[in-house]
Amino acid sequence: MAPASSRRSGFSKKQQYSVFTGYLLATIGALVGLGLLAISLWQPSVFQPLRGAANDAASPVGETTAAVRAGGNNTWDTISGFWNAGSQNAELRREVELARIRIAEAEAVETENRRLKALLGLANDEVEPIAWSRLVGSSSSSARRFAYIGVGSSDGVETGMPIHSERGVIGRVLETARGSSRVLLLTDSESVLPVRRASDQTVAFAEGRGDGLLRIRLINLGLNPLEIGDVFVTSGAGGYYRPGVAVAVLNEVTSDGGIAQLIAEPAATNYVVVEPIFEPLAVEASDVRERDELTDEELQD
């Protein structure tokens, strides 16, 4: 379609000025946007109140869509379960038998643990969750991997608190508003999580790759001891996450570690739990302020 005849400015001074003003305003708008962008990349928390208020308003609808999503997942599971009910039944029976044996063993270990802890005089530290919520939404069209939960600072949620589902770690709180919070998912390319192999003390970092997988980077380089199928749990280093929560399963070995898949997939979870920061003191200690940092000259001395 050709532009409407009224959009050609021609010789009319008024039209020419209005076209010019339009361009001017748009250019100023673009420059303002660029300025805001620079500020928010430099100080990400500046616009947090604005975004928080907006997400507070949007999250009640998210509760509904989350419920529908959970329902949809269940329906799909039911349908797919119907197809191979027979063979699955036999397999499950066998697994239950094995699981019963394992439970008995675990109970034995637990009693022993309790006895040893009592011997050492350690308090039995059960972690009391701060709040629970549904994942009400995510930044699904952006390259960043954020999710939103329907609880915020009025429920006691604070920045840095870990988010768990019943399967394992989901991420941690990045920003809080009154009734909603933004969560940095493990798959975001800015997310780094200290982990260890569940079977021994091999420590590593689990970094998001941005494509839904985690890159496991071993801290002690050398001979790579990892094998496909290794389960990684949080190590508790850094102070945010309590140790021993499932994170990922290795599905590819590389020279400096491996590529792992998430155990707790956010899209498949129904409810998530916000837990308190494991060691607030450690987090505070690691937060070195810029003016406390030594300069290069001071380091050379």
């Binding site: 975004r51 995510s138 930044s139």
Partner: protein
């Protein structure tokens, strides 16, 4: 500067009914903006944990309105609409304000070069704009770009470009609704 309402000879095309009906100015002026705001809002309720799944619907609707109805949106409209999109998109604040304003300027310049266009050329322009927008948004998202992210963003780009004809039909329908004669006079 622009014909926000239909010219008299167009009136016959929109809606039926008696001669005492005109389009409601309120509806004619709000429908584009409401549809763009809804487009910005919708992707937040899709839970994507692996990769960018949803097309940037706010930008797509905005772009389609701009391409289909040149002159309807003022040139500076990228600022308020981008502001709203930034609240929900998860991008750093200012990214949509910046990119949407640039889009408006670029499309305006393209239009003065090629005043006569058809659907295929519109689709080509829109496709190019979508490609550049998604890549630029990824670069300024604050994430450290990995090669895998470039691969993961391809389905999103492809889906957004293929969505354009569908959106064009939808916007055309919304435009008919926008200009339908619903207000009774006399």
């Amino acid at each position: 500067m622009i014909d926000r309402l239909a010219t008299p000879h167009q009136r016959r095309a929109y809606g039926r009914g008696g001669i005492n009906l005109v389009e409601s100015p309120w509806r004619a002026n709000t429908v584009p903006y409401i549809s763009i705001l809804l487009g910005s809002l919708l992707p937040i309720w899709v839970l994507a944990d692996v990769m960018p799944l949803a097309p940037p619907l706010g930008f797509l609707v905005f772009l389609t309105w701009r391409v289909m109805r040149p002159g309807l949106l003022p040139l500076w409209v990228g600022v308020p609409l981008g502001f709203f999109d930034d609240l929900f998109s998860g991008q750093p604040f200012g990214s949509a304000i910046f990119l949407w304003s640039l889009t408006m300027i670029a499309l305006e310049i393209i239009e003065t070069r090629f005043p006569w266009r058809g659907f295929w050329q519109d689709w080509f322009t829109a496709g190019l704009a979508i490609l550049l927008y998604i890549l630029a948004a990824m670069v300024i998202s604050g994430a450290s770009i990995t090669p895998f992210m470039l691969i993961m963003v391809l389905p999103q780009i492809l889906m957004s470009i293929l969505l354009y004809p569908l959106l064009a039909r939808m916007i055309a329908w919304l435009d008919r609704f926008r200009l339908s004669r619903s207000r009774r006079i006399g």
